[in-house]
Every structure is written in C-alpha cells, then in structure tokens.
Amino acid sequence: MLTVWGRATSSNVQAVMWCVGELGLDHVRHDLGHTHGGLDTPEFRALNPHGLIPVIRDETGGVGAAPVWETAAIVRYLAARYGRERLGDAFWPADPAARARVDMWAHWAKESVAARFTVPVFWAVVRTPAAKRDPVAIARGVRQLGRELDTVEARLAENEWLAGGHFTPADIMLGHVLYRYFDIDIARKPRPALDAYYARLQDRPAFREHVCISYESLRA
C-alpha cells in the first residue's frame, strides 16, 4: 500500500496525487499541513526532517519502505517503479537516452515555471490580504512567469505534450499549476497552444480530481 501525507490543497501534493491517479495506484492520503497542522510532531519529522509535505511511503516498493519526500523525486520514483507496467514505456522510458528529454523538461517545469508561479504569483494574489497586495511586484512576477510560458507556448505549438508526443511526468510538473494559473485574477497574455493544452489536461480524470480543486481555504 502507498501512503501519502499532505493536504489535497497543496500544489506539490497535487502533483504527486495526479501522478498516483494516472498510475492508478491504491493509496491512502492523510491531510496534513496548513489548517490541518501535524508537521511539527516527532512522528512527522521522522518521515521528513524538513517538516514539509508531500511525503510518501510505498510499502509494496521493497527495501525497507523508506519515506520519500521532494515532489520531483517522488514523481521520479513512482514513474520508475510503476510507469512502464501501468502506462507503457513512453511515460518514463526505460532507455536513458529516451528518458533524457522527459526528465529535463520535467525538471525545468518545476524549477522554472512552478517556482515562478506559486510564490511570486499565486501567494502574492491569493494568500496575501487585499490591503497588503503589491500590484507592482505581482506584475513583475507575472512578467517573469510569462517569459517561461512563452517557452512553453513555443514548445506546445509543435508538440502535443511538453516532452513530445506522449503524456509524461513533464506534463505533471508543468500542468499541476495550470488550474490555478487560469483561475486566479491576473492578466494573461493570449497563448493559444497553452489554452489547447490546458483543455487536453482537463480531459484527464486524474487531473480534474486532484488538481482542479478549490483553493478557497488558502485565501488570506
């Protein structure tokens, strides 16, 4: 059995849960973090010394069933362990030469797109009280994010999915912030390929179930 610790409203938990959903893995998830608390207990710190969610433990995975944290490392673990048997080789190719493109776009999406969205844009807009919002900083954040989204747009104009012709973890690392990106009140430059991609993501039940969910409880 796979255990996931972390509230459903955390963007990083959403990336992991979407991956779990795509792979169709049996699991239990415990709400932890934000209003649920529980990140400072000795039990949780034994799972993740940083006191952050998500954390997983895969009892079927073998070797001591050690906990794994860091969203990107969790997704790589799940993809390597279950990708091929559940979704075929293209999801996380066994050949490192074919996997290279998937891994590089996945890494980039988390470090460049998700990181430029979550704190500088989403937090600044949704998790900051109206009186404290800084429109200049928000505009700067949207502009910096926009440069990365231009790269995404160029890529998606020529490829159905971020890493090429197949849905892969690169789409999870990019797509898990898109529901919020399209939902919050910010200026969005027209990007037709990104719009079409977002519509394709919404055809995926695991995306709708784990990512397209209310973030009202996070609102300042």
């Binding site: 010394p49 940083h50 895969d58 995975g61 073998g62 070797v63 001591g64 069933a65 050690a66 906990p67 794994v68 944290w69 860091e70 990107a72 490392a73 969790i74 790589r76 673990y77 390597a80 362990r81 990708g83 091929r84 048997e85 996380w92 066994a94 050949d95 490192p96 030469a97 996997r99 290279a100 493109r101 891994d103 590089m104 996945a106 890494h107 980039w108 988390k110 470090e111 460049s112 990181a115 790269t151 160029a154 890529r155």
Partner: protein, 231 residues
C-alpha cells in the same frame, strides 16, 4: 527493474560527451564532475558569462532558455541533446555509471534522489542566488547588506540540516559514493571558500574534506571564481 542496465552499452567505445558551458559555472561543474567521476571522455566548449555564444540562434536552437550547461552525446548511434544540469547528471549516471554510483533499484534511489533534489532546489538557491551572487557578483557599493544578512541567517538551518543528514557518512548513502553526492556536493566548494558567518557543521566540513580527496572534484569543482567577481 524497469530500467535498462548499464551493461546495455551499445559497444565498447568510450563515450565522448560534448559539453557547452564555462568551467566556472556551478551547473557546468556538476556535469563535468559526473563525467570525470564516471570516467567518460569529453569535449567542452566555453560558453556563457565572459564567453558569450549562449544568445546565438545556434545555441538557442539547442537550449531555448539560453542557459549552460548543454550536452550532446552521440555514443553508439544515439543522439541525445539536453540541458538542465540535474537531469544531465541523472542521464549520464543512468547511461554509464555502474552500481552503486547509480542504484538500479528505484526503492534505493528514491531516498537518495530526494536529498539530491533538495540540494539542487533548496540548498543551492539559498546559498548561490541569495549569498554567493550578491556577495561576489555585485559591486561592493550596490550590495544590499540587510538582505544579505537575512540570507546568511536563513542559510544556517539549511546547512545544519545537511550536516545532520550526513552524520558520520562517509557518503549520503553510507559506505557508497552515489549520484546524490554529486548533486549535493557540487555547491560545497563555494560554500566552504566564501567567507561569511556560517553555522557550525562538523559533519558537513568532514564531508567536504572527503570530497576534496576525489581527483574529479578537485579538478572540476574547485575552480576559481575570481573571473566572476564584480569589479
């Protein structure tokens, strides 16, 4: 296991990896260290700060982000062109490194990969973007001392965290040196040699001293950053 074993090497030719990026870039250093640690051949082209080239159409065709490092590997009929240093290190290790440098079992790899990821995306920026750059690459008169002091304070618990994790080591996996040590250790030369108020981290210091014993680390990571210093 769901991944190709490294005995799958197409033939016995020693791979020659083409690398674009100046030797003084911390992300290039991760890649060069991995190449040398595995024992691969390489041809490195200087590019980036002080050398340019990363804004040319040819370069942007390789990496639309215009960043270094970029590698190309044409070993045995493959043609892999990629960027993102951490993904490159994983690629090189998965392709060419023996056990235990790259553990084949995802259940062994996962708990190491998480520290590697944390080092690259938490320790790295906390030190490199918030301390190293402001201290080295900003002209003295323009340094925002208050913000640098905050970053230096914020770095202490991060360094202690790695210190705790390393413990007696000798490596992150215990006895075996792995890919995770490459991604975690790459930043430590700068961290150690830059003079600022640091947390006490005896385990981390001993770990760094062990890294310095590795010829590949001495050659590719302990590279002077004087050329980056703002004047």
């Amino acid at each position: 296991m769901s991944e190709t074993p490294n005995s799958d090497r197409p033939n016995s030719e020693i791979p020659n990896i083409e690398v674009w990026g100046r030797a003084s870039s911390s992300n290039v250093q991760l890649v060069m260290w991995a190449i040398a640690e595995i024992g691969l051949g390489f041809t490195r082209h200087d590019a980036g700060f002080g050398f340019g080239m990363n804004d040319t159409p040819e370069f942007l065709a390789m990496n639309p982000n215009g960043l270094i490092p970029v590698i190309r590997d044409r070993t045995g009929g493959r043609d892999v062109l990629m960027w993102e240093s951490a993904a490159i290190v994983r690629y090189l290790c998965a392709s060419y490194a023996p056990e235990p440098l790259w553990p084949r079992d995802p259940a062994v790899r996962g708990p190491l990969d998480m520290w590697a990821e944390w080092a690259k995306t938490t320790f790295g920026p906390a030190f490199n973007s918030r301390i190293f750059w402001p201290a080295i690459r900003t002209p003295a008169a323009q340094i925002d001392r208050a913000s640098l002091d905050r970053a230096i304070e914020a770095m202490k618990p991060v360094a202690r965290m790695l210190d705790d994790r390393i413990g007696d080591g000798p490596w992150l996996a215990g006895q075996d040196f792995t890919f995770a040590d490459i991604l975690c250790g790459g930043m430590l030369y700068r961290y150690d040699s830059l003079d600022f108020d640091k947390a006490e981290t005896p385990h981390l210091d001993a770990y760094y001293a062990r890294l310095c014993q590795r010829p590949a680390y001495a050659e590719h990571v302990r590279v002077s950053y004087e050329a980056l210093r703002a004047t």
